[in-house]
Amino acid sequence: MSDASAAVPEPLPAGAGAAAGEPAEPGAAPRPGGQRARLTGAAIIQAVTQGSSAVITILAIFLALVVGAVLIVFSDPVVTRAWSSFFADPGYALGQTWQAVSYAYSQMFEGAILNPSTISAAFHGGSVAAIFYPLSSTCAQATPLILTGLSVAIAFRAGLFNIGAAGQWVGGAIVATWLGFGVSLPPVIHIIVCVLGAFVGGAVIGWFVGLLKARTGAHEVIVTIMLNYVMYDLLQYLLSHPAMLQKPGQTNQIAPYIANNANLGHVGGPPPQAGVGFLIAVAAAAAVAWLLSRSTTGFQFRTVGASASAARTAGINVERSWIVVMLLAGGLAGLSAATVIQGTNTQLTFNSYGTYGPDGITVALLGRAKPMGVVLAGLLFGALHVGGTYVEAATLGQVPADIVQVLEGLIVLFVAAPALIRAVFRLRATSGTGMEAVTKGWNG
């Protein structure tokens, strides 16, 4: 059982790597040959035939798209009719199928990555910025997902399952909103105060979970789930009272717009743009990467995650690690709220929290609880979300945007089941996925 670092070496102190660095699976066989893969032709071929984690991920995405295609076919009456007379005219059925599926997926691609027509338009005097519009929407969608993904991932690394990113998100959003419209500050300072406030708002919720776990042994899964509902209800309460967060003169559950000074700017072009929020997400990922791989605290997190009892025996303060990691996880989820409230939405409503919390879990799983992986997974899911909305509009509701959720679930399912992928694509060998150490059972 090796892990993803066989293909993507993560820098680690030489001694630490063996002791408790990269999730050391109990009973893991020593890796054959050197620890680091060289990028030679042979290594690449080996990676493909044996199914390295990158290859598994790509195949998993492919397989998910294939299953998604079945769904698209079933929901298209023209195609299903063509299939009902398959034996009379198989070519027609297959042609219709190909047309429906390729149209849906190409629309998804055009909406999320690149629309070829904008390039030719640019050559004929159109806007150059329009070429980058889909990509920037993808980045904007990915921003909060990356941050909640990091929130879940960092907790995973310390052996905790943070289902509570949603509640922490709400905590951050409440503080960011309140600071956003309630106080008046100069331009840059207002942004910083709000973002920090959102971090604190989320961190308090996360800290509380860690504290309960450390002091009373309360399982973080239960406490985070329950706190999610508590925070939703709190948000509903705050948004239905003008004395609290509700916009005056409103009957809807909606907060006032935050001040212009608190808005995270965009980098060029018309909105929605990848703005400062995206930079915050990337910076947070870099910071988490540094923390996990280079700092004592991060080392302690990973040791606790690998085995709490071993860490305790080694003299690491396990309870403190739990508290600190949940505080950071909550803070990251709070930052996610800041990028939404101060970036794309500029206003808190009862539905603002959307599915950022649950999506954070899938993003963290797909990214194998590693910061870089989380960024890539966040971008993929961001692209899927943008593409899903686009394809729903392009097919007039024939292919609902919900298909994206199915695709996301399937991707993570297949990534987590390398044995299945190997069986389907006839790959040899048994290297792991790097997911083995992501989570543990209840007895952790």
Partner: protein, 421 residues
């Protein structure tokens, strides 16, 4: 290793005794200071018979504030007792039950002081009904996890069961067909869980979350494509109420337990079935052996993987019935995300109940009671904003888990795939 660990862990163990005592004390003080002192003057009244015919029991009236004070004093006394003396396990549980009960009664007195009488029968009935999906979900999880497979997919099983039940019952006009379909749909999610967890050795926590995402995505998708466009797939038919002859005319007990639709009676059967099967049969002994020590079980000839497959699928079938309740047993028509987190609450009930059927049942009833209170109390006492009342079950869970239950121990092999070596 265990010796070292226990030695280092003792601070937590010592804490334990005082956490419970402190929690008792805090709840007692709330009873006195918050609930008692803020109660409106006047009596709280409780009605113990349903309106209309039948044997009528006079309404019970008690002065609200004094009752709160007395109950608070009881809690404080139990807290002191808990902190100073080492109680037996049974006494500990009884004390927890007594404290929770007095807290609830104090809360009811406070809410109802000076208002119209609260109909206790209706509240109990509502509690039982609201608990059905929670009980079935928790028992499904219990079957699954006792055999060593973590089941976070309860939510997905409920949701898929709810969808299948609604669409089959509507399309074919058969409620029983809907019930079977709902159960089977839960079983399909269970089968997926089993295949990926047992055969493909996928991390079970990840798997559960993913299956929930998939179930939500699929039902949303199918709702959009089928139900939203064709109302005949979502007619909203429901099972009618069945009065058990004789039993339903017993005062107090009758209307609560024996006057409901088929789902409540199925739930009774499942509760008894799971408890008896797990703890009083050879079958259950084997299941528990597989969940605690699969290698040992394998050595004596128990088929570990088969046992797990069977239990996971069986759990799925049971959770599917709970899902079916959400549509054809309750509101009728399906709506996206109709399970709205019940599966996760069932999971919490399972953990809170320490992976035992009766413990899960108690916890599920507690959650159900909180859900029911959140519905009822704002109608009696307008001082309670509904969103704050809605928090009650969740806050209660956190208090219970942190203050009273603490660290729990799952079946030893729970979540660990078994690979024959």
């Amino acid at each position: 290793m265990t010796a070292i660990v226990t030695a280092v862990r003792t601070p937590l163990a010592v804490n334990r005794r005082y956490t419970a005592a402190v929690t008792f004390g805090v709840l007692g003080l709330i009873n006195i200071l918050v609930v008692g002192l803020l109660a409106h003057s006047g009596d709280a009244a409780f009605r113990l018979s349903p309106g209309g015919t039948g044997i009528q029991i006079p309404v019970i009236r008690v002065p609200a504030a004094p009752v709160c004070f007395v109950l608070g004093a009881i809690c404080l006394g139990l807290g002191v007792l808990r902190a100073t003396t080492e109680l037996s396990q049974r006494a500990k549980r009884l004390s927890i039950a007594a404290v929770l009960l007095s807290f609830v009664i104090a809360l009811l007195c406070w809410a109802d002081a000076g208002a119209i009488p609260l109909n206790v029968i209706n509240i109990m009935q509502g509690t039982l009904i609201a608990s059905i999906p929670l009980i079935l979900g928790a028992l499904a999880g219990c079957l699954c996890e006792r055999s060593g497979v973590i089941n976070i997919a309860i939510e997905g099983q409920l949701l898929f069961g709810a969808f299948a039940a609604a669409i089959v019952a509507s399309a074919f006009g058969g409620l029983w067909a809907g019930l079977v379909a709902g159960s089977l749909a839960g079983g399909i999610v269970g089968l997926l869980l089993a295949v990926f967890a047992i055969t493909f050795l996928v991390n079970q926590v990840i798997l559960g979350v993913v299956l929930n995402v998939l179930a939500l995505g699929m039902t949303d998708y199918l709702y959009d494509r089928l139900m939203a466009q064709n109302a005949s797939y979502n007619t909203g038919i429901t099972f009618g109420s069945i009065k058990i002859p004789g039993l339903s005319s017993i005062p107090v007990i009758g209307p609560i337990f024996f006057d409901s639709n088929i789902f409540l009676y199925i739930t009774y059967a499942v509760i008894i079935g799971v408890q008896v099967a797990l703890f009083y049969t050879r079958w259950g002994l084997r299941v528990r052996a597989v969940g605690e020590h699969p290698t040992a079980a394998d050595t004596v000839g128990i088929r570990v993987l088969w046992t797990r497959y069977r239990n996971v699928i069986l759990g799925g079938l049971i959770a599917g019935i709970g899902g079916a309740y959400l549509t054809i047993g309750s509101v009728g028509s399906f709506n996206p995300d109709i399970s709205s987190g019940f599966g996760y609450i069932a999971l919490a009930a399972l953990i809170f109940g320490r992976w035992t059927p009766l413990g899960s049942l108690t916890a599920a009833l507690l959650f159900g009671f909180c859900l029911e209170l959140a519905l009822v109390l704002p109608t009696v006492n307008s001082a309670l904003p509904p969103p704050i009342m809605n928090m009650a079950p969740y806050v209660a869970t956190i208090i219970a888990v942190a203050g009273l239950v603490g660290k729990v121990r799952a079946p030893k092999a729970d979540g660990e795939p078994y690979v024959k070596s």
